[in-house]
């Protein structure tokens, strides 16, 4: 176990979702609201300050349910936050995710013009995130959320996105997810062994030093910015049948198919990392939280075991030799699943909408989320792969390639299409509990 120092973080000020792992199994929903009347929006913030869950004692057993809140920049405008404060928010947050589409690869089928309403239209102002261990607990937290926005006609409900953990405990692509969140200095918790790095709290929470030794740029006044953070929220449709067919068409047997999939993902379906289980899946390893993230890539500099282009190695290259500094590009991820699973063995699309609600949390939308998306997943130069993109999540167009280093000659797959399509997304600011009170009366 990696022990961190006593918590200097103000845990009772930080929203719970920032540090708390989700329960397993889990069920939940995102409720999206539009603020038509600033007074109503401010009342909502005041009520939520008393209702949202903080990160206090976050390492204790899971709360049965968790209520948290985020705001888009349009949401802050709708609350009529003074311009002096609005102008202190980072540029990419102010622009919003849709405006950043070209840069992060949301083009073609993933372009904002094709997103599901209300995403990217400016109609999403507030998100209420409700996460629970079961339906009964969800009902309780739904009631809390209802109390928060009840009898405020100046608020408009605009969308609801349900999510739940599949019975397999895996993503729609069939892989165990949620492994490998960073260890945060001063969080007071013990983390399962990882690559050995312990990251400065300021990478994930505003108001604390980050990996550069500086305080991250923070919205002002300090009461508004401190203990807050940013979220990139994305609804990602997974083209599971197309992915399975691609694996099938490029393999000679079920065993080959399984190995090819592991080369693409960097882990086997159980969650066992390829680098620790090079030949075949090891479900006991995958299920063991003390072992399934305890590795580095130093033994595999050429990618002969885990390709440099494998999804997990791209998203966190750990100690791999790359262009740039891995410490500056870590992400807290809180992804969840939506839609029905595609039954095993089916290679034809059934038309159902299924996928992942990807949630990034961190202090730097630009050098964390946008960097990883644009430089590590939609590019290959950082790791010697030129224009090659991530096979699983990259913005491929049918002409993509995937390189598998092997002896004596590398194997290269061609004709990679897009297996994940963006259906919508927003950038949110996750204020501290004190900031929610500030937002209830921003003119004071």
């Amino acid at each position: 176990m990696t022990a961190t120092e006593a918590p200097p973080l103000q845990l009772d000020e930080i929203q719970g979702i920032v540090l708390r792992n989700r329960p397993s199994p889990y069920v939940g929903t995102y409720i999206l609201l539009r603020v038509d009347d600033p007074g109503a929006g401010r009342q909502l913030m005041g009520r939520l300050a008393e209702l949202v869950d903080s990160a206090a004692n976050w390492w204790q057993p899971d709360l049965p349910a968790l209520l948290n809140v985020g705001l888009t920049y349009r949401g802050l405008e709708a609350l009529q936050v003074p311009p002096a404060a609005l102008n202190t928010f980072p540029e990419e947050y102010r622009q919003g995710m849709a405006a950043r589409a070209e840069f992060i690869g949301d083009t073609g089928e993933s372009a904002p013009a094709r997103w599901e309403p209300p995403f990217g239209t400016g109609q999403v102002h507030v998100v209420l995130s409700l996460l629970a261990a079961d339906q009964e607990s969800l009902a309780v937290v739904l009631e809390r959320a209802r109390k928060a926005h009840a009898q405020l006609p100046g608020l408009q409900f605009v969308h609801r996105q349900d999510f739940y953990q599949l019975s397999t405990g895996r993503t729609s692509f069939g892989y165990k997810d949620g492994i490998g969140n960073p260890t945060i200095e001063g969080s007071g918790a013990e983390s399962p062994p990882g690559d050995g790095s312990v990251l400065k709290a300021g990478e994930f929470v505003l108001g604390y030093p980050d990996e550069t030794g500086n305080l991250p740029p923070m919205p002002q006044p300090a009461e508004l910015g401190r203990n807050g953070t940013f979220v990139a929220w994305r609804k990602l449709h997974t083209r599971v049948a197309a992915f399975r067919r691609y694996l099938h068409d490029n393999s000679g047997s079920p065993e080959e198919e399984s190995l090819l999939a592991a080369k693409i993902v960097g882990r086997w379906q159980s969650g066992a990392p390829l680098i620790l289980a090079p030949e075949h899946d090891d479900p006991a390893l995958g299920a063991d939280d003390q072992r399934n993230n305890d590795f580095r890539y130093e033994s595999d500099p050429r990618g002969a075991i885990c390709p440099h282009g494998a999804h997990a190695r791209r998203a966190n290259p750990r100690d791999s030799e790359i262009i740039g500094d891995v410490r500056l590009h870590h992400m807290i991820r809180r992804g969840t699943n939506y839609g029905p699973p595609l039954p095993a063995g089916i290679l034809d699309d059934d038309g159902a909408d299924r996928g992942i609600v990807f949630v990034f949390i961190g202090s730097h939308l630009d050098r964390q989320f946008e960097f990883v998306k644009s430089q590590w997943l939609n590019e290959g130069n950082f790791t010697g792969l030129d224009q090659e993109k991530d096979l699983l999540t990259g913005d491929n167009d049918g002409s993509g390639i995937f390189t598998i280093p092997q002896h004596p000659i590398r194997r290269r797959l061609h004709g990679v299409e897009r297996f994940v399509t963006t259906r919508g997304g927003e950038y949110f600011f996750l204020p501290s509990l004190s900031a929610l009170r500030w937002l209830a009366n921003p003119d004071a």
Partner: protein, 169 residues
């Protein structure tokens, strides 16, 4: 012009960087900055020039995306130009560059460039952005070759020649 070069594919298009700073062609981009020099700044720089030059190999290797970088004092040492050719987008790697090569930038510009906030200052990128002068013309001979590609191509050529040498010996 040779028949070979005229048969090449269409002329690459030079555009502005997607994030709006400097010019871009293919994988390669340029940026030029113009600072006012502090009184005595040029002398200070030149006193350290040999070390700055030596350190370049170390720090640029860490950064890994820079093709070339030059610094020149102009107008009777009252101004200083920095010009870089590098790979990819401008903003994404700035944090990495200043996090890893801060001592080198400070060695070059502390006490030299007017208003220089220091490479570890959180607002260094914003300050730098105000100093950019965009090229009005820019030519890059191999716009699809990154620094990484060039190094790899060199290795492949050397290995291939070694193979041919072995086969013919």
């Amino acid at each position: 012009m040779t028949a070979q070069s005229s048969a090449r594919s269409a002329t690459p298009t030079v555009t502005r960087q997607p994030d709006g700073l400097g010019k871009r062609v293919g994988e390669v981009a340029e940026i030029t900055v113009l600072f006012d020099a502090k009184p005595g700044g040029a002398e200070r720089f030149r006193q350290n020039a040999a070390k700055i030059q030596d350190d370049a190999w170390h720090y640029e290797k860490l950064v890994g995306t820079v093709h070339d970088f030059r610094v020149a004092f102009i107008n009777n040492d009252t101004q200083v130009i920095g010009a870089v050719t590098y790979d990819g987008d401008f903003k994404p790697y700035m944090a990495d560059i200043f996090a890893n090569a801060a001592p080198w930038f400070d060695e070059m510009f502390e006490g030299v460039a007017e208003g220089y906030p220091g490479a570890t200052d959180p607002h260094i990128v914003d300050w730098l952005a105000t100093k950019i002068v965009e090229a009005d013309m820019w030519y890059a001979s191999n716009p699809t070759m990154t620094v990484e590609d060039t190094a790899k191509a060199q290795k492949v050529t050397q290995a291939f020649n070694a193979l041919l040498d072995t086969a013919s010996s």
